[in-house]
């Protein structure tokens, strides 16, 4: 009956049923005190203006009960899938099978994603949602370079997304350049903006850096909004050309893809093309990031996140290292922006508000900073979750907020918090999130 005795683990955390009950009881007491007046007694003005009141002890009891039960559930979950080092109540075999499943999760997800257009061919809604999720996966992976690897908190990531989108939109509508020419240009322009942002702000660290990047994001949006002659201001840019399959349009015309292949035209073709396009872009981002991590520049980014002073003592130019991180992240944001513009066919400054930056940052933090798979899972959870709870209407954001709080309680360092080493002699061991630094700016 060891489970019934209170135990203290190495990490100093108490586990066991008496501890959980005690904690739940305390929470219930606090709830009782708080809610006894707020819910227990109802006061109202009577017909003659006098005070009438009545008690609602039933409601009070149910609220207190709910707190008691909820507290037990939260504490149990915390101890099961809680921080590393704490004794787990989950039996070892289950843990082992979970970690085995974790190893195949990435490839399984990839195969599933490749098959999505086949499985859901007739469900336009699912395909659109898939494209949206993949766009955020790509943005998350892009921002992951800046925030997760280099440890630079960037609250203005949407600025690069906007630069990419407007670059493509303006080049395509004004000069008639094709998507495939504009895509690298959009990435390059965004990277240039990343460097331009980087130069003045890289002396700043931590909170100060976050504030300046936030401001930079707003500046870009306001410039777009007010530079009417170039960007069309609040009216946005419309009539952005749809992407072509290397020159072959995906439309109903005689030289469209469907006509050339001799199959019946369907608007779904274009959606599926967009789906695979963003999948390819996202996978490119992933591949480049994984490779960069194993190159000296990637190791320097991570070293920078761990200890900037030590980096300088080793002769690493911290300024250019930070700038390359900003530029790389910005470039991927620019690619995603160009894709966004070609998918929507219309862009306006409203699409590039701070909320987008916050959402992408939340994806990176929730996923586990630096973890590619974690970011993909987080994007799926966040964007998919948004849609899943659509039926709850006004309570959607409430449920969503609660879910985020719970995830951060169980997994303070994100869904996948540990770090995989970039090079090893005998065996790659995952590094516990307790040791990995978040970076200071």
């Amino acid at each position: 009956m060891t489970a019934l005795s209170t135990e203290t683990t190495q990490a100093g955390r108490t586990v066991g049923i008496p501890f959980i009950l005690k904690k739940a009881f305390l929470s219930a007491c606090v709830a009782l005190v708080l809610f006894s007046l707020m819910i227990g007694i109802r006061t109202e003005a009577g017909p003659d203006g006098q005070l009438t009141w009545w008690t609602r002890f039933g409601d009070l009891a149910s609220i207190v009960g709910l707190v008691f039960g909820g507290s037990i559930v939260i504490e149990l979950l915390r101890q099961w899938i809680g921080p590393t080092g704490a004794e787990k109540l989950v039996p070892a075999p289950i843990q082992r099978s979970l970690s085995l499943a974790g190893r195949f999760l990435g490839p399984a997800l990839l195969v599933f994603t490749l098959l999505v257009p086949v499985i859901f061919y007739n469900q336009r809604y699912i395909l659109d949602l898939g494209i949206l999720v993949l766009t955020y996966v790509m943005l998350g992976w892009g921002l992951n370079v800046v925030v997760g690897l280099a440890g630079l908190l960037d609250l203005g990531y949407v600025a690069f997304y906007a630069v990419g989108a407007y670059s493509y939109a303006l080049l395509a509508t004004n000069f008639g350049w094709s998507f495939w020419v504009c895509l690298p240009l959009a990435g390059m322009l965004a990277a240039i903006w990343g460097v331009m942002l980087g130069f003045p702000v890289l002396r700043l660290r931590g909170d100060y850096l976050a504030i300046v990047t936030l401001a930079f994001g707003e500046i870009i949006r306001l410039v777009i909004l007010n530079w009417q002659s170039l960007t069309g201001g609040p009216n946005g840019v419309s009539g952005i050309p749809r992407p072509t399959l290397f020159g072959i349009p995906l439309d109903n015309s005689d030289d469209g893809l469907a006509a050339k292949l001799g199959i019946e035209y369907s608007p779904t073709h274009r959606i599926i093309f967009l789906f695979y396009l963003i999948l390819a872009l996202a996978l490119l981002t992933n591949w480049v990031t994984i490779r960069l991590r194993r190159l000296p520049i990637g190791r320097a980014w991570e070293a920078l996140r761990e200890d900037e002073v030590a980096c300088r003592a080793l002769g690493i130019n911290t300024t250019t290292t930070k700038l390359t991180a900003f530029a790389t992240g910005a470039m991927f944001g620019g690619f995603a922006g160009a894709f966004f513009a070609t998918r929507q066919g219309f862009i306006s400054p409203e699409s590039f508000t701070f909320q987008e930056s916050a959402l992408v940052l939340a994806i990176v933090v929730l996923g586990g900073m630096g973890s590619q798979l974690g970011v993909a899972l987080a994007a799926l959870t966040m964007i998919g979750g948004f849609e899943l709870f659509r039926g709850l209407e006004t309570y959607r954001m409430l449920v969503f907020g609660m879910a985020m709080v719970l995830i951060m309680i169980w997994r303070p360092r994100g869904i996948i918090g540990h770090r995989a080493p970039t090079v090893y002699l005998t065996k790659a061991q995952a590094i516990s999130s307790d040791l990995v630094k978040e970076g200071h700016g």
Partner: protein, 277 residues
């Protein structure tokens, strides 16, 4: 005393506002020797270190590094990372500054950043995986492995640096500095917090760095058993000025040094000063 000293510090002065941390300090570190900088707490040793390694910009004076090929670098004019990169001065820190979330091997790979950056064609060639970069990486891993062997941490190569024991972290930090292939290695209290056995193995390591590799070492140390055992030359500082200099034996018998360390009242100090000079 053959040839030029590797490092010559000439009338170095460092002021923080009204406080003079280092005043007109001049000393030299011989090539291929171990030079120790000692003194009581607050004597200004770490400030001197920070000036040499570019973390502070000195208020006055000159710091010259003489390379093997006769080139001379003015360290007081270079800033932070360039001292490690161009002048080949590597340092460790009083409070260990490893990359705790990276493995021991990764720590040593980061130290070879500049060489690997060149080999990877500033990332572009490395991204497409050219063979020259792969060879360079193999050589870098070999160098790192060699150092892990020297510091007896080969079996912990794939463990996070933050998980290593304190003494192992100290040695790993020295190995990391050595992986930059420095001309001058500056160690800030390498024996702090080590037990007697660990101190002895540290002395062994430093002697092998001097003997086998011929790297010049400048160190700050409080552990006198280490200092007296391995130093070729000792510079003693107190209150920002040099009070004595010489071989371990000379310094140990210097009354001014004894006074600075043991503390004396003013009369006694004056008496010691007179008898000393």
């Amino acid at each position: 005393m053959s040839g030029e000293p590797i490092l010559s510090v000439d009338r170095l002065t460092m002021r923080f506002g009204g406080i003079v941390a280092v005043q007109d300090l001049s000393f030299a570190a011989e090539r291929g020797k171990i030079t120790a900088l000692i003194g009581p707490n607050g004597a200004g040793k770490t400030t001197v270190f920070n000036c040499i390694t570019g973390f502070y910009k000195p208020t006055g004076g000159a710091i010259r590094l003489n390379h093997d090929d006769g080139r001379q670098t003015a360290l007081e004019r270079l800033n932070d990372f360039r001292i490690a990169k161009q002048a080949k001065v590597a340092r460790t820190f009083q409070n260990i500054r490893l990359f705790p979330g990276m493995t021991a091997l990764e720590n040593l790979m980061v130290a070879q950043h500049n060489a690997l950056m060149r080999a990877s064609g500033f990332t572009f060639l490395g991204l497409i995986g050219v063979p020259t970069y792969r060879d360079a990486e193999k050589r870098a891993i070999a160098l790192a492995t060699d150092w892990l062997k020297r510091i007896n941490l080969l079996d912990r190569a794939d463990d996070a640096a933050g998980n290593l024991a304190y003494g192992d972290q100290r040695r790993l930090e020295i190995a990391r500095a050595m992986c930059t292939e420095p001309a001058l290695l500056c160690l800030d209290e390498p024996a702090a917090g080590l037990n007697a056995r660990e101190s002895a193995s540290l002395s062994e390591l430093l002697r092998s760095i001097r003997g086998e590799l011929g790297t010049s070492i400048l160190l700050i140390e409080h552990d006198m058993s280490v200092v007296m055992e391995i130093s070729d030359h000792i510079v003693v500082m107190d209150h920002g000025v040099k009070i004595a200099e010489g071989t371990p034996r000379e310094v140990r018998d210097d009354p001014k040094v004894i006074a600075a360390y043991l503390g004396t009242d003013e009369e006694e100090a004056a008496a010691v000063m007179e008898s000393g000079s």
